[in-house]
Symmetry: C2
Subunit: 217 residues, 2 copies
């Protein structure tokens, strides 16, 4: 089947939230690797770049002044302050991707998710990733060499805060097994794509179909 036969559609805003250590980053990376129609929304932030991070890939690192100019100019779809740092989602690349039928993945917390749902409900699908257990969450955080003991305790506390918002999400993924969770995530995306067929295109398709049926019957 050639691409031109396909019914066009607007892209989906797929929001993934979870406490850190639940597997969200791995799921994000797998989805971007396996599905070339999905692009990642890169947030802007005022926090310092970490050694492993690349400007424009992990975040756009900006000054507080630049961030505030974007926010006040309506250039951000959502923003939040977390531990004294500002984070936000630039509007323009998202709008452009959706109009081109590409899906945009958001790796953001419940505050950002809530704002996106408020401003873009028709386009947004939200998924909350839960760890299988508290012990497993701690074990995963400990396996990451980068975090100190104090950081792990802080992350566990933040996890509880984030998890408290699970009810606000469309889908819940309990991440017991990465392959299984990834298959489920793809099923969510596949199904939502079928929902968001471009209605004017289907209208046109059905119109032709009915006209042709009339000629045949």
């Amino acid at each position: 089947m050639s691409g031109s036969e396909e019914i066009g559609r607007r892209g989906i805003m797929l929001v993934l939230s979870s406490p850190s250590g639940a597997g969200k980053t791995t799921l994000t990376r797998s989805l971007l690797e396996h599905d070339e129609n999905v692009v990642l929304s890169v947030s802007v932030t005022t926090r310092d770049r970490r050694g492993s991070e690349i400007d424009g890939v992990h975040y756009h690192f900006v000054t507080q002044r630049r961030f505030e100019a974007m926010r006040n100019g309506g250039e951000l779809l959502e923003w939040a302050e977390v531990h004294g740092h500002l984070y936000g989602t630039p509007r323009e690349p998202v709008e452009r991707a959706l109009a081109a039928g590409r899906d945009v993945l958001f790796d953001i917390d419940w505050q950002g998710a809530r704002q996106l749902v408020k401003t873009m409900r028709e386009d947004v699908v939200t998924v909350f990733v839960l760890p299988p257990s508290a012990a497993e969450l701690r074990a995963r955080l400990e396996r990451r060499a980068e975090d100190s003991g104090a950081t792990i305790v802080r992350r566990l506390r933040n996890a509880a805060e984030e998890i408290a918002h699970w009810r606000e999400y469309d889908y819940i993924l309990i991440n017991r097994d990465l392959d299984e969770s990834f298959a489920r995530l793809r099923a969510i995306l596949g199904a939502e794509r079928l929902k968001r067929v471009n209605v004017p295109d289907v209208e046109r398709f059905v119109e032709h179909l009915l006209a042709d049926l009339k000629k045949l019957a």
Copy 2:
């Protein structure tokens, strides 16, 4: 992962509608073969049994009197009269399957779909299967040895009537390729299952998770 670790959920009522010849029957059969959690809702009807049909498998064949008793006794989830024959969906097996977490597949027309949505909105997911073109629909009907020329013309007219209701459905599947359509149907079912996790079970899961996190952090 053992079954007992899974979060329980109520089953889904998956409604498939389409004009005859669009591939709905093949999709239905494939789904029942590949997914043992799905059961088919068997309708009752007052029309005569055809040679190839088995009572209790394709339909429950009943008298007009028995049908009316079921309908008046509230035993039918939906019913309709089509070409002078009565068709209906018995309530009890559906309720039993949903409560057991099994998904129930319905191969019914737009009239039945509309009634199910009205009475069971929370449980119902509706999918409309469209043929790729009018010419292909006729070709498929002609390949079926069972239909005479007059029947084919009638089916094409009925197809137009059925297709006119596509807007009432949650999902639209344009059936260009059976394997692809089947994969899409499974994606829809997979995603909807994740939506219908049993909320009291997730509540309990999260409650334990948060209590355990508190102990660790």
